[in-house]
Symmetry: C2
Subunit: 156 residues, 2 copies
């Protein structure tokens, strides 16, 4: 996966640590990490990440990750990442292969995060079927998975 994934992870990281209150501000913060993008791109990213704008007495508003994208359960995430073997797509469906027995616990993490892009999952023993919403691309699904389980970053 490309550079976009890294940018999305960087954004998650930045806005979970700072009260960021405009996309221009985010442009600058990303630049500090050597990532150069325009406001238009960040607008798309914030939409993808389902970021909320929360009222704040000092800043007016700041960006906040939805609950399911907050750093939630690192133990479970590491476990899931360990069991993850591969993902492939066929006929608009995603198929994740896992180590034996890992499928349902990984699927459960995905279900809990309820990404808009995914209608649902079906887990067997070492296989998960991902059913994306109409019109969603493979890359969106993959990025979505990495946002849920960042540890997958280097396995995809």
């Amino acid at each position: 996966m490309g550079n976009k994934t890294d940018r999305l992870l960087a954004i998650k990281n930045i806005i979970s640590k700072n009260k960021v209150s405009s996309q221009e501000e985010l442009v600058l913060l990303l630049e500090k990490e050597g990532l150069h993008y325009t406001q238009a791109t960040l607008s798309r990213d914030l939409k993808f990440l389902k970021v909320n704008k929360i009222a704040d007495p000092e800043k007016g508003y700041f960006y906040e990750l939805p609950d399911h994208h907050q750093v939630s359960n690192e133990v479970a995430e590491n476990y899931a990442a360990q069991g993850f073997m591969s993902i492939e797509f066929a006929n608009k469906l995603g198929v994740i292969k896992t180590l034996p027995g890992y499928a349902s616990s990984i699927a459960s993490l995905i279900d809990k995060a309820r990404p808009f892009e995914i209608i649902g999952t079906i887990a067997g023993d070492d296989t998960i079927l991902i059913i994306p919403k109409e019109g969603i691309t493979e890359n969106d699904i993959i990025n979505s998975l990495i946002m849920i389980i960042p540890e997958l970053r280097n396995k995809i």
Copy 2:
């Protein structure tokens, strides 16, 4: 209290029942109730109500009241409203008089709602001291109280 209070209550009501996703949309919904205001005014109102913008797959965003402004505990609110006698201001401080014994339960409702405008409260038996943040007006405090306990509407 003036018309602004009614408008604020109407806005609370509308956005708790509908997924409203722009201020122009809200202008129209208020017009249906005979309230005619411009986008600029609603911008100020949404700020006052500390409304959040929540990501949504269909609408992009919609407005949501913060937890403490959701219809929370009607029993407690009615009880509080019943004990409320008056509010007066002196030296930038608010003083609420209540029926004997009601002060702490009313103050507790205010504290739970944590309005930005109020730094804190001190409750005796039939008196509550309201300590507003620097620069906040009496009307803001009053509107804030009515947003927390709508039943006060006709007692102020």
